[in-house]
Symmetry: C2
Subunit: 217 residues, 2 copies
């Protein structure tokens, strides 16, 4: 994703120009996350980022260009977070539980939902030409889980009968659906239940480590 | 839900008035489902339903009143569909598979997503005062699965160790999240994987019927 975004930032920008663009983008992402795409207008954004209308127009001439940049910004953040050491490439059930625990304890989960999923849901039916970018981001996200599950198989931690692609779709769907239900209910329980049950399902494929195997007792 | 909606239809409406209101509502639901809330305007709705601006204003004086009525209309339809004989109160794994199979084969799934979930996602961050109505609808929906799973337990079809509320949240979250991912990818696979894996998980709690139990062989 980094390479893609870099490519989209006009190469002629000075370092000051890049900093201004980044500041606008950060405020746009924050406004869109808390208020939604439709309620975010240029005036709010200009005030929040401390830029003029012509500056805003220079970096993001259309709402589509702004929304597209925010999608990339949020996608990079969510993918970088999932790739962080904290989750150890999702090579174990414990790393999946660590991941679920983070979002269950995260107060924004049931207030504003997923930074990327809530934005996707809000605009998927609009005329904004952003579907391919969203699809690419979710595909990469799903692949992080799939790759982790495949490694768990190679390491003998889960059975060869598990279908990593199917389980990865279960994990990401439970996350996105649980986030929506938690937001609507203003209660984290739907997300907590969905994530714990999805991980319980991965666990049904767990292979006992040799030390715990019945034949060693 | 029926009782609630009836109560909201002004009692003084004549049968002709009720028919006009119902026609507007049906077209509003259709427009909102295909184009989204924000892209649906009064002029399109007037043309689609064949009513005047003053008629529209008479039945739905504000966009909030219209969106609220559409939420109730979609919630009634989705709940009635889930309560239909086809799914036999979700008292068996087969009924859950029948349900998943319907949505996996339903072409609107990956085009417009869930009639209620896509609407909820689009407006949950707006100022429209509709959250309680949405929460009520999703709660009833989740309870249909929970009640079915509880009956499966009483009938000895699934183990007492299963947590019906948690599994119900998994099923509804996998459905909502899978619908979003399928829409974004324009491919049914994420929904299919998520639903099949969620039902596979319910199946891990299945108790063998007496005829199939090992001791009877």
């Amino acid at each position: 994703m980094e390479a893609t975004t870099e490519a989209r930032v006009p190469q002629k920008l000075t370092s000051k120009g890049r900093a201004t663009r980044a500041r606008i983008l950060e405020h746009a992402a924050e406004l869109i996350y808390t208020k939604g795409v439709h309620a975010t207008n240029n005036e709010q954004l200009r005030r929040a980022a401390g830029v003029s209308g012509s500056q805003l127009n220079h970096y993001f001439p259309t709402k589509e260009s702004l929304v597209l940049a925010v999608i990339e910004w949020q996608a990079e953040r969510v993918l970088a977070f999932h790739r962080s050491e904290r989750f150890a490439h999702f090579e174990s059930l414990d790393s999946l539980r660590e991941w679920a625990g983070f979002y269950i304890a995260y107060e924004h989960s049931y207030r504003e939902g997923c930074t990327l999923g809530s934005l996707a849901s809000e605009i998927i039916k609009t005329d904004l030409d952003v579907r391919a970018d969203l699809a690419n981001a979710f595909e990469q996200w799903k692949d992080l889980f799939r790759d982790g599950l495949e490694r768990m198989q190679r390491l003998g931690r889960i059975s060869a009968e598990a279908d990593p692609a199917r389980l990865a779709h279960l994990l990401l769907s439970a996350f996105q659906g649980g986030m929506l239900l938690a937001q609507v209910a203003r209660d984290i329980t739907p997300l907590e239940d969905a994530l714990r049950a999805a991980i319980d399902h991965v666990q049904t494929f767990a292979v006992l480590p040799a030390a715990d195997a019945p034949e060693d007792r």
